[in-house]
């Protein structure tokens, strides 16, 4: 008998194992849905798959009466634009501040406590102030995402910079590197893989903040639709939208994982073995 830790599944076993829990969940859902339908034929909480398909098909292929848009796609486009902008801004801020805080003890002393405190403020609770400063338009939605995930990125990346062996920083200096060059050529590239990993971990929260922002004030977007139809418990729309968000998020996650491995192979050597 080999030790459990040494048993590595093959390609196909891996696939089967990955799919199994999802099948289980699907099965549970279908039976729970059927059960509720028996009790109440109009039950809205767990609609059967057929209704969800119908509902999504309609949203995705029939133009809306009011705006003429295909709602499913226009919602997706609006949300992804906000999310993409928020992500890009957060990544840039997180990387810049994370590097500077991680590298320069003076800046660490000045900013690390501030960032720690800022990361603890629940953004939802100070929305009124945010509205006044950033208005109610697209900007405030992007800002909510940025406020939501940037402190995490900054703290995580500053920590990552801190774990680069001191010997490397010293080595760079003996090779004549200035602080700026050390940051650019030693710290930055070694932080990039972790940035991508941290972004992966932030996808969930980013969607959460996006949805919250869209629930608070919006005219379109995935979160807007979910909260709008919640007014009549249209789970046949909500659940597919949630599934779609999850799928989108998972695709991003997967893409970021692939990009990280393609762009920074040296960071994943251990994994490859």
């Amino acid at each position: 008998m080999r030790r459990a830790m040494n048993i590595v599944p093959g390609r196909s076993a891996r696939l089967v194992l990955a799919v199994l829990p999802f099948l289980l969940i699907a099965f549970l859902y279908v039976s729970a849905s059927a059960e509720r339908r028996v009790a109440n034929p109009n039950d809205k909480l767990l609609p059967p798959v057929s209704e969800m398909v119908a509902s999504v098909t309609r949203l995705a292929s029939e133009p809306d009466k009011r705006s003429g848009d295909l709602l499913f796609w226009s919602d997706t486009a609006a949300s992804l634009t906000r999310l993409g902008t928020g992500f890009a801004v957060s990544a840039a801020l997180g990387l810049a501040f994370g590097l500077v805080i991680g590298m320069l003890p003076m800046v660490t002393a000045g900013l690390a406590p501030l960032v720690a405190v800022l990361s603890m403020i629940p953004p939802m609770a100070i929305l009124p102030v945010l509205f006044i400063v950033f208005g109610l338009g697209e900007l405030s939605k992007v800002v909510l995402i940025v406020i939501g995930i940037t402190p995490f990125l900054i703290r995580d990346l500053a920590m990552t910079v801190g774990t680069i062996p001191r010997e490397q920083m010293i080595k760079a200096q003996t090779l004549g590197a200035s602080t700026w060059q050390t940051m650019l050529r030693v710290a930055l590239p070694q932080t990039m893989p972790r940035l991508l990993e941290a972004l992966r971990l932030s996808i969930g929260p980013a969607f959460l903040f996006l949805i919250s922002a869209e629930a608070i004030a919006a005219e379109n977007g995935l979160g807007y639709r979910i909260f709008l139809v919640r007014r009549y418990l249209a789970m046949d729309t909500i659940l597919p939208y949630v599934a779609w968000i999850t799928l989108l998020a998972y695709v991003f996650d997967f893409a970021l994982a692939k990009i990280a491995r393609a762009g920074f192979p040296w960071a994943y050597v251990q994994e490859a073995r």
């Binding site: 109440n40 034929p41 119908a54 509205f131 109610l136 608070i216 807007y224 909260f227 709008l228 007014r231």
Partner: protein, 330 residues
């Protein structure tokens, strides 16, 4: 099937504050004991969530408006009875604008409101009366909890909302009240709805609720010290004080005695109102996206009159329990 323990849910709104007061002060327990049952009163902060939970079967009764009773539980196949009609909004809902002075001036404006709520309905009615339609404005769905703050944002010009948010919004410098529910009296009805099947199986549940409600209502309208104390407590529960609560009450047409409520429910205006509500709901897809017409769900009124599909009656206005109270038969 008959049972002994019942759950009702309430949310913070002036017309529903008697419920937590009745629970706190033991009135509910008194009436429940009288019928040998237990009634648990639970506060839910999110209004829609409370209705959703009722619709999903977690509660036997819930406080809501006539429109939401139609579009959420009734459309969701939960046969629902309007057991207690407590009041209608008489100025508690309104349109406030920083830019427009009349409803007609709203043309082309962006309006923040809770979409598909009674605010939306109020706006539709207001626009209708001014000869405009919803196409002439842009509505932005805005969460009720953030409405006051949203109105402070420089780029927000017009909101539709309800009390106590409405009072806060009106107090903003430069705000004009354009329209309110006093101009469409009796159309926004606040009530306690219960599951019809549960009620049928457990008439005592309905009797206990009605009994407790009207005992509490007596306190709400009592100008004396006991009434003031009760209203102060209700005000505190909703995050304000006696004065604030009284101001909200002033914009509410209460039915303090059961006979008034019975008369209102049995009158013809309710039918007209529900006709308006269901056509608004149908236009906005609230009756289910697949609904062929406003007739999919039947609404039953006293005397057997039914709007819509008689084979699928899911919302019933039933004054019989209030009538028992009016007749002193509880």
């Amino acid at each position: 099937e008959p049972k002994k323990e019942f759950e009702i849910a309430w949310t913070i709104y002036v017309g529903w504050m008697p419920w937590p007061y009745a629970a706190d002060s033991g009135i509910i327990k008194k009436w429940a004991d009288k019928y040998g049952i237990t009634i648990n009163v639970t506060q839910i902060n999110d209004y829609v969530e409370s209705i959703n939970q009722y619709t999903a079967g977690r509660f036997d009764g819930v406080t809501l408006t006539n429109m939401d009773a139609l579009t959420i539980p009734a459309v969701g196949g939960v046969d629902t009875t309007a057991l207690i009609v407590g009041d209608f909004s008489n100025g508690n809902d309104g349109i406030v604008s920083k830019s427009a002075k009349t409803v007609a001036e709203l043309k082309g404006e962006t309006i923040n409101l809770v979409e598909l709520s009674v605010s939306h309905y109020l706006l539709a009615r207001a626009l209708d009366e001014a000869g405009l339609s919803e196409k002439d404005v842009t509505v932005v769905n805005t969460s009720d909890a953030d409405m006051v703050a949203a109105f402070k944002a420089p780029d927000t010009t017009t909101v539709v909302t309800w009390n106590p948010l409405l009072a806060e919004v009106k107090a903003e410098p430069g705000a004009n009240a354009l329209f309110d529910s006093a101009q469409i009296p009796g159309e926004i009805i606040d009530m306690l709805a219960v599951n019809t099947q549960t009620l049928k199986d457990n008439p005592d549940f309905g009797k206990a609720l009605v009994g407790a409600w009207y005992e509490t209502m007596a306190l709400v309208v009592d100008p004396g010290e006991a009434g003031q104390k009760a209203r102060a407590a209700m005000g505190a529960l909703s995050g304000t004080d006696l004065a604030g609560f009284d101001a909200q009450l002033a914009a509410t047409k209460l039915f303090p005695v059961p006979a008034d409520a019975v008369a209102f429910v049995s009158g013809p205006d309710v039918v007209t109102t529900m006709e308006n509500v269901r056509s608004f709901s149908f236009d906005h897809g609230l009756l289910g996206e697949g609904a062929p017409s406003a007739d999919v769900v039947g609404i039953e009124f006293p005397g057997g009159k039914v709007l819509g599909d008689t084979g699928n009656v899911k919302l019933r206005f039933d004054p019989s329990y209030m009538a028992l109270a009016a007749d002193g038969k509880l």
